[in-house]
Symmetry: C2
Subunit: 138 residues, 2 copies
């Protein structure tokens, strides 16, 4: 079928179109980027666009959960690199469509990197699902 000819780079959103934050941004800035772009989570990069992890609204809000109330003031005290999820799976642009499908089973998106761990783009569940749908009409 058509999908077996495709690789991750054919379906990914290229890095220039991916909202992201930097490791040293304060959490308040990261939250503002997330709320303004509307995304739940985005990649984290360093100054040379090497991929460092992922950060999202869930991670940031978890940091504000106090015993009696949300402690939102902590957002200006903490940095992205202190709380981001650095333990993330990655794909290469040359990986196959089916490798991409397997990877997004457990993650809404997967970061794509080159051999130097520089950020190339993201493979989203939506891109995989749109392609999978085509395979049911052959």
């Amino acid at each position: 079928n058509e999908s077996s000819q495709l690789s991750v780079k054919d379906l990914m959103i290229p890095s220039e179109k991916v909202a992201h934050v930097q490791i040293n941004n304060p959490l308040e800035h990261a939250l503002l980027v997330l709320v303004k772009t509307g995304y739940s989570a985005v990649p984290v990069v360093d100054a040379s666009y090497k991929l460092e992890g992922i950060i999202g609204k869930s991670i940031i809000l978890n940091e504000t959960l106090g015993l009696e109330r949300f402690e939102f003031e902590r957002l200006s005290e903490m940095k992205v690199k202190e709380v981001m999820n650095a333990d993330i799976p990655v794909l290469s642009g040359n990986d196959s469509y089916i490798e991409g499908l397997k990877a997004v089973i457990d993650y809404p998106f997967i970061c794509v990197v080159d051999e130097n761990h520089h950020f190339d783009g993201i493979l989203t569940r939506r891109a995989i699902l749109k392609q999978a749908r085509k395979d049911y009409y052959l």
Copy 2:
């Protein structure tokens, strides 16, 4: 293939396992449910478990976006029903797997309702992707 035999009710998470909030909850309570369960967004029901909409961290945080800072105090002033997304697609348990696949292309999950619009469960992208993967190994 195997998937064409399945319907949405075979793949959905049944309502008893779905975290949800009520239309009259204050936003602060809804946010606490979302942060504690870890989910980005959950269904909203009324007292008789009729489906009313969806609410998520994005919608709630949007309400706190002020001109100069996040206005988190608004969370105790507003209710779920004032901000939830009430314009959502739904599925029936009897809809086919392919109808489910099409529906989750644009939404991380789709609520499943019976003929009286009572909440039966949710169909998630993960459930569809796990099933789609099986079709590539025949």
